[in-house]
Symmetry: C2
Subunit: 258 residues, 2 copies
DNA sequence: CGCCGTGTTGACTATTCTCAACCCAGGTGG
DNA sequence: CCACCTGGGTTGAGAATAGTCAACACGGCG
């Protein structure tokens, strides 16, 4: 439950990523072809890099916007507390994801974001986003598209917590993360790094950590997954997807420029 | 559970709403001041009106985009079925809401939308949205902002189904709808029209209809609400909000242009 | 008049939570 | 080098929350 307080160990450094390997450009390119000018604008806007420790907050509920955070490396999550301490994790953020593009439009965070492992974040100043919307309609549509993808995933999480059983729900999360991580080359065969305690999984799935434990055992017993040392291996992807009632359409994995 | 099939009783008609009373212009104006040119563009883009019956589908999962639907009058919902028939309602759409702005960016519906009462919808052709992003950056930001508001609400629904009990969850939904409807002048004192069966409430809240029934009784017994003939009356708003652990910040009710 | 959709109730069941204990591995300090 | 501490993970027992099934009530409508 404890997320740790925000330490100010964030270290600024220069980002020397070329356009071709820039994770945001890679992501947007699946939606549309960016012009050289647009790519340059993105690279120029994201030169300021900050490192965060595991469990360090990247942005807090109630904060005014300081900039838009682009996750370059690591693993982070959005989450929200109820007054009495219950916590719900709302999303996982992977390299290439914009953590809080909404804040430039919404001005105060209504939830928090924290790194789950040591992470690197590029801070994009709000003025840059404003400039994008004024000068680069194509880039604007691509950024908008990323927020709509986020929403599609959030909607599926509503289905997950609202309709699926603990077993289906857990399987579904593992399927979703597998597909998202594979897309950005962060899987190793059928395995990927899942740096979550069972308590954090519980806060994600709306389950107690005890029940998460028992659900994981059942998934293992049925030969669908292995999970040891924060490495999740999917032993039977088709079976796991069937158990999860998983349908990948909501991830919009293929390009869909129109 | 049955949503009814799409009847083709949709009737086209001309929309003769002036800019000042256009529900979308009213909504966007809480974010930013629109220019006369932008207002005209919106009015011109939304002249084609279609009527839908109660329980008629406005858009179906898998559909290719035909246009963006702007709800002018009525009450609609997004929802998604699992293969085995379980249904989750994902959002309620009120007058002024854009039903599926995401589709012009995402090209196929990953969920469905249906009217819950007889409703009027303006169909905005995708070409218009494209034009907005090319020619009207200010308007584009305003439209983007509406999709981010939708996402903030969806995130809160994840918290709702993930963390709140049936009682808290039901109370929370009633608070949310009250604030959203009041903003668009659709409340009558502490009452508003809630055209949902207990089964539909169950599909919204991730509860069985029987449990919804018992939860409603408890809310009545505690003097928080009355609900008869699809009219919900909040007898004690502060009490209901307390019971729901409701915090209105996620609705971003005040203007927040930046 | 009778049917159908919706709401209500009771009895029973299933899922999930809570609490408490215990285990194990890794890190720390003596 | 070892004792201890701490943060996960695991297990059992019992309780609470929510689901299922089946019956019945009620009102609108053909």
């Amino acid at each position: 439950m404890a997320m740790g307080k925000t330490l100010s160990q964030a270290v600024e450094a220069d980002l020397t990523v070329g356009a071709s390997t820039h994770p945001l450009i890679r992501k947007l390119s699946t939606y549309t072809k960016l012009s050289a000018e647009e790519e340059t604008a993105i690279v120029d806007a994201s030169t300021k890099m900050v490192s965060f420790d595991a469990n360090e907050e990247i942005a807090s509920r109630g904060d005014k916007v300081r900039g838009v955070n682009l996750l370059l490396e690591g693993f982070a999550c959005r989450y929200k507390y109820l007054e009495d301490g219950r916590r719900q994790i709302l999303a996982f953020l992977l390299p290439g994801d914009l953590c809080d593009l909404h804040v430039f439009l919404i001005n105060r965070m209504d939830h928090s974001i924290a790194a789950l492992v040591p992470s690197k974040v590029a801070m994009i100043a709000p003025a840059n986003i404003l400039r994008f919307t004024n000068d680069f309609p194509n880039l604007t549509r691509a950024l908008w598209w990323t927020t709509l993808l986020d929403e599609a995933i959030t909607r599926e999480w509503v289905v997950n917590t609202g309709q699926r059983t603990a077993y289906e729900r857990t399987a579904h999360l593992f399927c979703e993360l597998f597909h998202r991580l594979r897309l950005i080359g962060r899987t190793d065969g059928n395995s990927y790094r899942l740096p979550l305690t069972q308590a954090a999984l519980g806060d994600t799935l709306g389950l107690s950590s005890v029940h998460v434990n028992r659900t994981l055992q059942e998934l293992r017993r049925n030969g669908l997954i292995s999970l040891r040392n924060s490495i999740l291996t999917i032993n039977n992807l088709a079976g796991l997807e069937r158990a999860a009632l998983f349908s990948r359409d909501y991830l919009h994995l293929a390009s869909s420029a129109g």
